[in-house]
């Protein structure tokens, strides 16, 4: 069991560094950010209290809502494309019939550790109107990055490319955690491969699916690197994410109050998603 010590102070010394960092670089800033949300502050002169003006501004800021739409779109793609695809990929990677499994795994997992900047720059070239490989293969000069509707495509492609492996790692771990006896029992009952998938695999993967969905959702709501490099948020904000908008207001226009208020909205959104997740977990007893 738990170990008691004669030196009662020791555990506090052990956790002290973590808490100092935590307080100064996470919790403190969070409170700070909350407070600044109610100020008008350009960073040079003293902040001026302006109550709910920032939040009211956000409520009627069409660019903000456009960035929300884009971000939700990125989230939706991640949830409804990346998650199912990665489940299928994990099944394949787990299958004894897959040839060259180690190589395949390396290929699909490597994107996880690749620099977002490097890969976004590469995709920027792949999608280039004039000399990009994509247009070369399609045979038509499509202006991917310059069109308001099409510019979302390259961003989404990078998201799928980068996250597919990550989510399949989780699914793979989940698959490997399933008790083999469950399959054997199903086999004895005469279940086909398909039936076994639906009656054993899917239900057993429910907790992990849930977990993966939350990670993906929360991660995609904070997306920044990919659209920042690929399109800079343009054209006409068509690809700008919420975090990109926060960055624009905060660090190119020096509106710290307004940027913090955007952060506050983002935090509330993410925290409520997380809370809903915890609630659902408890209820379904996952």
């Amino acid at each position: 069991m738990m170990r008691t010590t004669m030196y009662k102070k020791t555990p506090y010394f052990f956790i002290l560094p973590a808490y100092v960092v935590f307080l100064v670089f996470m919790f403190g800033p969070m409170i700070f950010s909350l407070i600044v949300s109610f100020f008008n502050w350009t960073g040079i002169k003293s902040p001026e209290f302006n109550g709910l003006d920032n939040l009211k501004g956000i409520a009627t800021d069409s660019v903000f809502w456009l960035s929300v739409r884009n971000t939700l779109l990125y989230s939706a793609v991640s949830l409804f494309v990346v998650v199912p695809l990665s489940l299928l990929l994990a099944l394949a990677l787990d299958s004894p019939h897959l040839r060259g499994r180690l190589v395949v795994r390396a290929i699909y997992f490597a994107p996880i550790v690749t620099s977002t900047v490097a890969i976004s720059q590469t995709f920027m070239m792949l999608f280039n109107t004039n000399f990009g490989l994509i247009n070369r293969m399609l045979g038509v000069p499509i202006d991917w990055l310059g069109s308001r509707t099409l510019a979302l495509v390259p961003v989404i492609v990078v998201i799928i490319w980068r996250w597919l492996g990550l989510t399949s790692i989780y699914f793979l771990a989940g698959l490997q955690g399933i008790d083999r006896e469950l399959y054997d029992a199903a086999k004895v009952d005469g279940a086909t491969t398909m039936q076994r998938f639906f009656s054993v695999t899917l239900p057993q993967l429910r907790p992990i699916t849930f977990f993966v969905s939350m990670i993906i959702l929360i991660g995609s709501m904070q997306i920044f690197d990919e659209p920042q490099i690929l399109t800079g948020g343009g054209p006409s904000n068509a690809t700008r994410s919420v975090v990109q908008y926060l960055y624009l207001r905060g660090f190119t226009q020096f509106r710290f109050g307004y940027a913090s208020a955007i952060g506050l909205v983002l935090f509330i959104a993410i925290a409520s998603f997380s809370a809903v997740q915890m609630r659902l977990r408890k209820e379904s007893d996952l």
């Binding site: 069991m1 052990f14 956790i15 969070m30 620099s115 490097a118 989940g174 983002l266 997380s274």
Partner: protein, 280 residues
Amino acid sequence: MRKLSRLSAGAWVMNIVVWVGGAFMLLPFIWMVSSSFKTTEEIFQPATFLPKSLDGGNYARLFSSWPFSRWIINSLIVALFTTLLALMITSLAGYAFAKFRFKGRGKLFAVLLSSTMIPFPILVVPLFVITSRLGMTNSLISLMLPFIAPPIGIFLMNQYASYVPNALLDSAKIDGAGDLRIFFQIALPIMVPALASLGIITFINSWNNFLWPLIAIRQELSMTLPIGMANMLTGVSAGSAPPYGPAMAASTLVCIPTVAIFLAVQKYYIQGLTAGAVKQ
């Protein structure tokens, strides 16, 4: 080959789909490396898969036209020290939570865990203000500090520390060893897999980090690789054609270490990622 013939039709389809998909996944890497050897004129021509020659001109230009070696050194320093500090801090805390009973333990741990919900982007404005008030802008230290006590790492360490047998700790105690010595000599060696997992993840995350350095670093010589690279294409002289070739050379060089580390020690990386998922 002999084995392939025994595959069922379904398995055939699966193999084909997975491998074709894999080819698509590889495509950007191939493109990146191939473009890094192309001259500017070659890049601006309709796409070809392979460069005309393996000319290292872009790589040479990378080091002569930009302070690329400085960026490498900066990135290395930041990633290494972030990793070392993170390992120290989280293993101490994780161990304390697992092996000591003290007042407020449960609450303190809960607060830490709940902080995983704080999205990093909302911290950038205050972090920028704090680091600049502390006179740490443009310093590599400001790039490390926010990441040296990852709550998820404390959680991981806590899990592993709880595997350390109490009997071992007690016998060391009886031999008169102090808490710190017990931690370093007995607990830490047992926690090595967790340290390896967290270390690799932290190093790679730090190496690739973009948003925070973009804000914290404003001088070319203090930049880390991702910022320097992004700056090559988007910033500096508005008005000159983007140096795609050198940018691809930079991308290639940036990806090599992380992909190599990952391939070498995949197991630890994956364990670190999934430790939270499966157990939770």
